[in-house]
């Protein structure tokens, strides 16, 4: 297997944006190519979760490649629900590691804010098990069922969960590209509207538009891809062995660390999939960054804050940076690249190894990507 390097990375602002999805993805792609000092890739991998229903567009790989001026460059689309961006990164990584291509652009994006919220929730909810969906289970309902089980476990209470949102908003306030740039307090989280008991509004990530792109290359560059891992699990919650951990993240992490040849103790900073605040606590333990049952107390103690022992989600995470579905897995990697190349003023972390973890659907197709400064 060849070494794979990251030559460039960039993303659009995240939030309620006016541009079309094709424009957002073109802007991110061109900017990433510029930062990599390259004109044209050998191939393009596109990630969008559901342009068919969000936008009414199909054949989206060709659609977006043509729009950005690469009609003659080979292009494919990859989809694994909300982790599509991370899956596309893997597809691009495999093309270079195998020697099939020398330069690959991976670009992910989603556009949803033009639709009413109930419609967006319904479309995202279609990634759940059909039987459980027929009982009205939506993504927040799924997350609430998991959260209730988590809170029954010793060491995770309302304050531990709320602190995840407070910390990620504090980080988002330092990120000019973030959807939310306001700090919030513990009381604001605990006083916010109940969405799906025990989950409150401020535990949930927003609906966002945005795009992110990465340039992968076989030539030596400043950041090396140390490991990529995928993990899967049964679609239905009722078929899972555990409610308070995601098997898919655990499998992805062990595969990624096995490829990297080192363990979680070398990770200096991580971007974690906090679509719902309690998922950050679950994921930190699933990845192995904290021992089982310890992530809540560590968060409350400030260990995962920007100035803590192990800063988590310096970008603001899904909670504050925003969650433009298929862009998210790549936006996490963009943040990791920027952290490793020391180009994020006001939220720079001292680091040489960064990790990104992405959850697909109800934790059924998860990814862990590990990057190392070269």
């Amino acid at each position: 297997m060849r070494d794979v390097w990251i030559a460039g990375a960039d993303m659009t602002r995240v939030g309620r944006l006016e541009q079309r999805l094709q424009d957002l993805m073109a802007i991110a792609t061109h900017a990433a190519l510029r930062s990599a000092d390259r004109d044209r890739p050998d191939s393009i991998v596109v990630a969008t979760m559901n342009p068919e229903e969000f936008l009414g567009d199909a054949n989206f790989a060709s659609n977006v490649a043509t729009h950005m001026g690469f009609a003659n460059v080979p292009v494919i689309r990859v989809e694994t629900a909300t982790s599509s961006g991370a899956a596309a990164f893997y597809a691009g990584f495999a093309q270079i590691a195998s020697g099939l291509a020398r330069t690959v652009v991976v670009v992910g994006g989603e556009k949803m804010t033009h639709l009413p919220t109930p419609k967006v929730s319904e479309l995202i909810g279609r990634s759940l098990d059909p039987y459980e969906r027929s009982y009205g289970t939506t993504m927040p309902a799924f997350a609430a069922l998991v959260t209730r089980a988590l809170m029954a476990r010793h060491g995770v209470g309302e304050r531990e969960i709320a602190q995840v949102a407070v910390k990620n908003h504090a980080n988002g306030a330092r990120n000019p590209l973030a959807h939310f740039r306001e700090e919030i307090t513990l009381d604001m989280v605990l006083g916010s509207r109940m969405v799906a008991d025990p989950l409150r509004l401020f535990h949930c990530c927003p609906i966002s538009d945005g795009a992110a792109a990465i340039v992968l290359t076989a030539e030596r560059a400043t950041v090396r891809v140390a490991g990529v891992g995928q993990g899967t699990d049964a679609l239905a919650l009722r078929h899972r062995e555990s409610l308070t951990s995601f098997r898919a993240t655990q499998a992805a992490a062990s595969a990624a660390f096995a490829m990297a040849g080192f363990g979680p103790e070398r990770v200096d900073v991580a971007e974690i999939h906090d679509a719902f605040a309690p998922f950050e606590l679950i994921s930190l333990e699933d990845v192995g960054l904290f021992p089982p049952g310890k992530a809540g107390a560590a968060t409350l103690d400030g260990e995962t804050a920007l100035d803590g022992r192990l800063p988590i989600n310096p970008s603001g995470g899904l909670k504050a940076r925003g969650h433009p579905l298929a862009a998210t897995g790549l936006a996490q990697i963009v943040e990791c690249v920027w952290q490793l190349t020391w180009c994020v003023p006001r939220r720079q972390v001292r680091c040489s190894v960064a990790l990104a973890q992405s959850i697909g659907g109800p934790g059924t197709n998860n990814w862990v990507t590990i990057l190392e400064a070269g």
Binding site: Y135, A141, M194, A196
Partner: protein, 142 residues
């Protein structure tokens, strides 16, 4: 009255699922039809305040560990007083499963049927008491 629910069992890993499925989620083998008792322990639950189209708010959803092994997602009339570990009965209304809190008599009957031989009954009672004592310890601490 406790109903029986259709379910299926994996001949390889013994996983029981309800409602029944053709193939085991973890093994590419056909499952054997079986049935499970319509009662069990609440694993987790939620009340949804903005349910999707076609459902009325508030929507109560619970995940229940049925006696016989399967877990079931079902609706309920309310979640007030419900806790993880509460015993509920499952009832099918039309094609939809609902949970409701169990009366003392039903609980006793379920318990009797679950633990088969006298020795198992004694150990089940002992386990249940130990579990309660353990949970009480944590509650005292917080």
């Amino acid at each position: 009255m406790i109903e029986h629910l259709p379910a299926s069992r994996c001949p390889e890993c013994r996983l029981v699922v309800a409602p029944p499925m053709r193939w085991c989620p973890r093994h590419p083998v056909e499952m054997t039809p079986t049935s499970v008792m319509g009662g069990g322990e609440v694993v987790t639950f939620t009340t949804l305040h903005s349910p999707p189209a076609g459902f009325r708010s508030p929507l109560h959803i619970a995940l229940v560990d049925l006696i016989g092994g399967a877990r079931l997602v079902c609706h309920g009339d309310q979640t007030q007083g419900l806790r993880i570990g509460s015993w509920v009965a499952i009832e099918a209304v039309g094609n939809v499963y609902y949970f409701s809190h169990l009366g003392t008599l039903d609980r006793a009957r379920l318990f009797w049927r679950r633990a088969g031989r006298a020795g198992e009954r004694m150990s089940a009672i002992a386990q249940s008491l130990a579990k309660r004592a353990w949970k009480g310890r944590f509650r005292g601490e917080r």
